[in-house]
Assembly symmetry: none
Homo-oligomer: 206 residues x 4
């Protein structure tokens, strides 16, 4: 029942993702999205009724996708080691496949912090249990058993997510700082996962 791969609607979505990634919400131009999709500009509004709504749909869909994956990992992790090995891989692989989404999410986070917050809360309220508390409780238990050195779930998240996300955004700056060109190919992705897993396991396991 999902829209077919090359339907007008899907084409609009695809080019919108690129436009929003490259230019942010305000910089993205409806006419450009239409041109990219080889579609009449009016069709954007026919299918999505407004630029803002199109944006919302994109963000919502992608946030939902990540959250689902992360929830699965949380459910499957018996100990911090499991978690620290799985999380970076999921994040890095997801965003390397959807590199535009990383940019869009960052954009949104900067411009409209409450927006993603709302979406996340909204997705969570639909969940059968309260995932917000699950993670906090897990960490607390692990820390009490001496399985993790970092006791605060906030810092645990802040130590994992950015290390996984940032390479899809900040690499050009790193390139210029080091004066060398870096390709994000499969090899690099594997290295990055390896490095992050290493970092957080050695950094936060006893």
């Amino acid at each position: 029942m999902k829209p077919q791969k090359n339907s007008t609607k899907q084409r609009i979505l695809n080019s919108a993702i690129q436009e929003f990634a490259e230019n942010g919400f305000w910089g993205a131009r409806a006419s450009q999205i239409a041109k990219r999709a080889s579609v009449n500009k009016a069709m954007i509004f026919y299918y999505f009724s407004s630029k803002e709504n199109l944006y919302r749909v994109i963000i919502q869909d992608s946030v939902k996708e990540i959250i689902i994956q992360v929830q699965k990992i949380l459910a499957d992790s018996k100990n911090p080691e499991d978690l620290f090995e799985a999380l970076p891989e999921v994040y890095i692989r997801f965003f390397s496949k959807n590199r535009f989404l990383a940019k869009i999410i960052i954009h949104d986070l900067v411009q409209n912090p409450e927006h993603i917050s709302k979406i996340v809360s909204q997705i969570f309220t639909q969940a059968p249990f309260k995932p917000q508390q699950v993670f906090t409780r897990m960490v607390r238990q692990w820390h009490q058993k001496g399985l993790v050195t970092e006791s605060d779930p906030v810092h645990i998240i802040l130590n994992i997510i950015p290390a996984s996300l940032f390479c899809f955004i900040g690499l050009p700056m790193v390139e210029s700082v080091l004066g060398q060109k870096i390709n994000i190919d499969d090899e690099f992705i594997d290295e990055r996962i390896h490095s992050v897993v290493n970092l957080i396991k050695r950094g936060m396991l006893p």
Copy 2:
């Protein structure tokens, strides 16, 4: 030679920083900047000749400021421990004082990756020596001596900077994921520095 505090020019700069931080380059409105600065809109163009130029000035100034600080640390660090202890503190303290700049830089990085690259290269070419090579050589030597576990300077940077930067951007998301409110007060900043230093020292020192 610097513009006086509270001069029209300085007031424009200050409100522009906020506007750009909150809305990105495209979302920022000249009229809004003027209103925030209690200044006639035309003055923006009188002093900065264009919105784009105003943006450039802001980015340039702030990037330069960080780079100078980082270069000093690089020069002073005799071993990786020194570096890993000093770098997060510098980054986190700088951006906690200039929280708007963190957002602007992220925005710029996402929207216009080459822009910051150029600025960095430009600043570097004015330097008496080539800092790009200094860091790479340092890391290589340290790694050969077994002082660092991570051999690739790229990943070292990617392990340090994002962990320091992201809390000024992604905290709202973390809040909603954990379902708790987090204040970025002095205490939190100290904790964050502590956590990052801990992470990278344990994670990348032998």
Copy 3:
């Protein structure tokens, strides 16, 4: 030969009458007409070929209907008393049954004065005699015989028609001027007819 009740065509006509009445020609939306009629938008153009034509058809039909009734009265009136008693009733009853048409005609009169003029002239040229002159001659004769105090047919018309028409349009304003709610029910209609007949009989008969 007439379209069947509740046929697609008739349903379009009905909702179009409402839309045009509420919003005028320019404010009426084809999509809204279609939605009201529970009909596909394209059918409007299938049956009526353009919005403007649909509008024309509606105006023409309704103007024709009134004119026929008025002509009958003119033919039957032996003296001004007959006329002054019959005319307001015909007008008021017609527009109370077709309240939307009153609005449409007023709209059209304001926006496109020549439009209705043309339609009227057109209907008249199809008539076997020249009704335009009939009324003028009637009035002149009556006035010469001292049967009417107002000698000018123009003012006679301007004294009768607006008093009959306006209550279907201006009542809300009257309500707010008097600060009371007024319902256009059967009783009100009867009162209105009575009041107008009284007014013009006492006002224009000797």
Copy 4:
């Protein structure tokens, strides 16, 4: 302190009045208003912020102007004769001088009945006393004393206003019905006032 006669703002107002009169709110085009005023289109929004607001301002100003005049008459009328002689003259002269306003008000009355109602109520609530009740009470008293034949204030209004207003809107139709051209010159205006005053005095005084 009022805008100067030929200021940009005033020129916009003037052409807007014409555009709205000829085409109604929805048919009026901002570009056309600008062209008529020989003014940059953007200035309309600079001064009035939206087409709708421009419309509101015009309606408000003109309704206020009439109401003030009518209130004065109400205050000065010692008996129905005074009132019936003064009211038609005020209305007819006002709309003959502001012929566009008659059309706009009628338009608005048809399209958005509650709009003018609100404006009227709003103007009334600013008044020191309640004019809504003044008229009703006046009529009741006069009727009890046998000074008026029509007892209902609603019908009194409906007998006076439309007869005064309609000639500025419906004349073209009258022309085509009678097959003769009618000029609204000073002579015609005088005749019309005379005819209406005659009609309502003879029609509603004992």
